[in-house]
Symmetry: C2
Subunit: 537 residues, 2 copies
């Protein structure tokens, strides 16, 4: 039922996407600058209002990544670009340096207000927190009109103290006030009550946009965000696929589709082009290696599947018996068949442009060659295949060691054996063979013999990108270095041969680890680097 004709004017809820900041803080989800830029471009196509592109003070490379997104995606008709900063002058300076190139820059600064955080982590008194808030919001305001302030762990803060801090933030120039339930502790009723109290009682409330930021530790991230919107919030902080620290953040797609599907109930709109949801979801999952379970709302592979006989029977009689939204709304089941082995360079270039990939002539030629190889093996090449191919070829980490040759033998009869040839720094070549418990183990052991960078494999997963027995496989691995740090590194590889894809993914993770650790392989040009500090709100 299209109710637009009779509906009164509706308020717009701003979508603040923090996939590149809070989402990237998911263990193992680190992204390269190139991956971040591609995701930011897709977020812009999706129509998000604000992109939180990173935490510029975390490292020089984080700053550069935010800056590049500000330059290339933060156009006058594009989204607001923001970067996170603690309430420190140094953080705020760096955040401004990063977001300044955007047509619509925002600085987002935060300070914890719960007793446990103030006492145990910050070791600051309430008075000190109020004073710091006033001083640092004003400091940021001198750079930029658009200032967001978040009282970290607001969910466990004294509401009356929160009002005091927030009133000071408004006086000092904050234009958006974001209320994080940092540890995912509140229930929807509690979060509604908190937001209602803050919105109605904070002096100066009419001058600001109120924002929600929820975590899913108890499964309430979406319900809490919507409860906050019901209380009057008009910005929702969220991530694609709900990734983020621990159980993650509010899912962008769940909030957007709730407001979309239940528009006659909420009378609220977003600026999101829902048909871009599926592509954004797939891209974020591929680049971060954070898989999506089949029963994930909206974007899971079963979300629109019906198995039970009675359901199928009902659907045949009337789709509305069991379907409250259509797959087409989120861009699923659109014609995905694009190219075959007879497609030429021009058709390929056009399709890549339609998909939004901006490749140089050289890169386009490389991509075209890989496409032809793939089309020789696989009957039909879909958009998903092309996205995987581009991700595998162009957006991986800086390659310190590259895969030249791989040869594997395995089965029930012998010991699984792999022979690997790598090209290392200064184009030196290395060959090693190893046996393992399986072909992937053998292959990783051969790589380890060459690179000798001790690590522990903590996750290994493979997915087929498309249906069909000849599908490309995507492998994601996560490793931790064995130097006692708990930092994890992800790698991604795509190939029709999953052993090949595994070798690529493992090499990508090891390269990322070597890059971050520096040491004898040095630090390459601005792809990733040591994150000395990171934060959440």
């Amino acid at each position: 039922m299209d109710t637009k004709a009779v509906e009164p004017a509706v308020d717009v809820v701003r979508i603040f996407d923090t996939t590149l900041r809070d989402g990237e803080q998911s263990p193992g989800a680190s992204l390269t600058s190139a991956e971040k830029l591609e995701i930011a471009r897709q977020l812009s196509r999706l129509g998000v209002d604000i992109i939180e592109a990173g935490f510029p003070a975390a490292s020089p490379d984080d700053l550069l990544a935010v800056q590049r997104i500000a330059q290339e995606v933060g156009t006058p008709d594009g989204p607001i670009i923001t970067g996170l900063a603690r309430t420190h002058k140094g953080d705020i300076d760096k955040a401004w340096e990063a977001v300044a190139p955007a047509a619509k820059p925002r600085i987002h600064t935060f300070l914890a207000t719960s007793d446990i955080h103030m006492e145990r982590k910050l070791r600051m008194s309430r008075e000190e927190v109020v004073a710091r808030t006033r001083e640092m919001v004003a400091y940021a305001k001198a750079y930029c009109d658009d200032i967001e302030f978040s009282p970290e762990d607001a969910g466990r803060s004294d509401p009356d103290f929160l009002i005091e801090v927030l009133a000071v933030a408004i006086e000092a120039g904050a234009t958006t006030l974001n209320i994080p339930d940092t540890v995912g502790y509140l229930t929807p009723d509690e979060y509604y009550d908190l937001m209602h109290k803050l919105i109605t009682e904070t002096p100066g409330t009419e001058q600001v946009i109120w924002s929600v930021h929820c975590h899913d530790d108890l499964g309430f991230a979406t319900a809490n965000a919507i409860a906050g919107v019901k209380a009057g919030a008009r910005q929702v902080e969220c991530t694609v696929n709900g990734i983020g620290e621990r159980a993650g953040n509010t899912s962008l797609e769940e909030v957007v589709m709730t407001l979309h599907t239940r528009r006659p109930y909420y009378h609220l709109a977003t600026n999101i082009d829902t048909t871009q949801i599926t592509r954004a979801s797939r891209m974020v999952s591929n680049y971060t290696g954070m898989i999506i379970q089949p029963n994930k709302a909206i974007v899971g592979s079963n979300a629109f599947a019906h198995e039970a006989g009675i359901h199928q029977d009902g659907l045949l009689k009337d789709k509305r018996t069991y379907e409250i939204m259509t797959p087409e709304t989120i861009g699923l089941n659109q014609s995905r068949l694009v190219l075959g082995k007879h497609s030429g360079r021009h058709a390929f270039r056009v399709r890549m442009e339609e998909l939004g990939f901006e490749l140089s002539d050289d890169d386009l030629q490389t991509a075209f060659e890989r496409f032809k190889e793939l089309a020789d093996k696989k009957k039909t090449v879909t958009d998903a295949d092309l996205e995987a191919l581009v991700a595998d070829e162009f957006y991986g980490p800086h390659e310190i060691f590259g895969l030249m040759d791989l040869q594997v033998a395995c089965g029930t009869t012998g010991m699984p054996t792999a022979t690997v040839r790598l090209r290392g720094p200064d184009d030196e070549e290395f060959v090693q063979a190893a046996i393992g418990t399986g072909p992937v183990d053998a292959c990783f052991q051969a790589i380890d013999k060459i690179i000798q960078a001790p690590n522990t494999l903590i996750e290994y997963s493979v997915h087929s990108i498309t249906e069909g027995i000849d599908a490309m496989g995507e492998v994601t691995v996560r490793i931790t270095s064995e130097n006692g740090s708990s930092r994890t590194f992800g790698g991604y590889g795509a190939d029709t041969d999953i052993i090949m894809a595994s070798a690529k993914a493992y090499l990508a993770a090891v390269n990322r680890m070597l890059t971050v650790k520096g040491g004898k392989y040095g630090k390459p040009e601005g792809e990733t680097s040591t994150i000395t500090v990171a934060a959440t709100a």
Copy 2:
């Protein structure tokens, strides 16, 4: 803070687990009878109050599976065992036949009450629905005291008509009334209002337990269930990992941990032993092939992981800064190292018994031999490895074709090639070689050359069971037969060699398809069978 000492007596919320009924309706999640029984045993260890073990009228094998669970798990101090039935005499007869052996049997019958379902699917008038409800609840009551009634699609039903139907169900003898939001359409506030109205206005309400049944299409399954509990419901229908039709059901672990973590807020308890949650979650994921995303609340691999520097800093100063529950509460991080290559038969038997596996002497010997093989390859064998080994060896579908030998060669230099030897019906042996786009494709193609059962591979995924480069890989595949039906078949395989695991998983799925389709390979003894009809509530 332990508040038990000062807390007043609390109400208990009954946990009604429908993993084996609504959960098994997830596309591709079909379970064998042996797998269902093992899951039922774990649900009993977990302490659920009611197990909905299946839909007995769906097929003779479904009936047998429910009956076996009723016999073996439905002990006097075990859970209530129930089976679903449409409001048809035939369905109710079969449900009773299935649950009667349980010490505490229940019949659960349902009939849709929304206008769209009554008009478009049932083609029944309101009067006919009321009459059918009265007649069939009374018919079930003649068998059994414990009767649950569900008005399907209650979330979209006229509340006043619902009250009429529910009052009649109470008069006819229903003892539990379950209110399903079948299509996952309602928001928490709407669901609260609906439950509140039904609980306060339905004549006879004081004689029944009210129950909630929610779906996650918009991401509200947990919030809606808790909203219903707040309105007075004292039974929650849910599934482990939230699996189920489309985006799935309310997650058992989210509801249980919400009531546990926020007990001072809700003043409600469950009978669940939370330390069994991790094992239940892993077992259901392994057997159904429904993977769990890292950012899944409570049971995701990241749920207790902290990446950001500030978080880690805070946690070191005081865990409570970012942690609202401990991993130990859900049975995570318990000592999982059990056995090594020097462990003897006795230690192995004891550990298997501790894990709750009831194996015959022959099966125990087989399992012990596989354990020794594994211990030769892998330094440490964990509980998770043992569970995977048992699942792979004993709970797969009836084996029409079995894997004898496999030999694979692949890499950058040649064409991926696989040679497969299978043992078919009547012990006949078949050998075929095939090339493919990768080793898995080559292997599946060789199997296809032998079996010639056309199908499409719709999902392929691999996970490592445990950390470490020598880990076992678990492969799950889902296929659809090419006869135009949309039925999917899942297969599972575990091995340290992922090509071997892939071959086993694919063979398991093909065997399941052949078993269900019957045809020239006939139908084996009661493992799986054609599901002619299935249902949801």
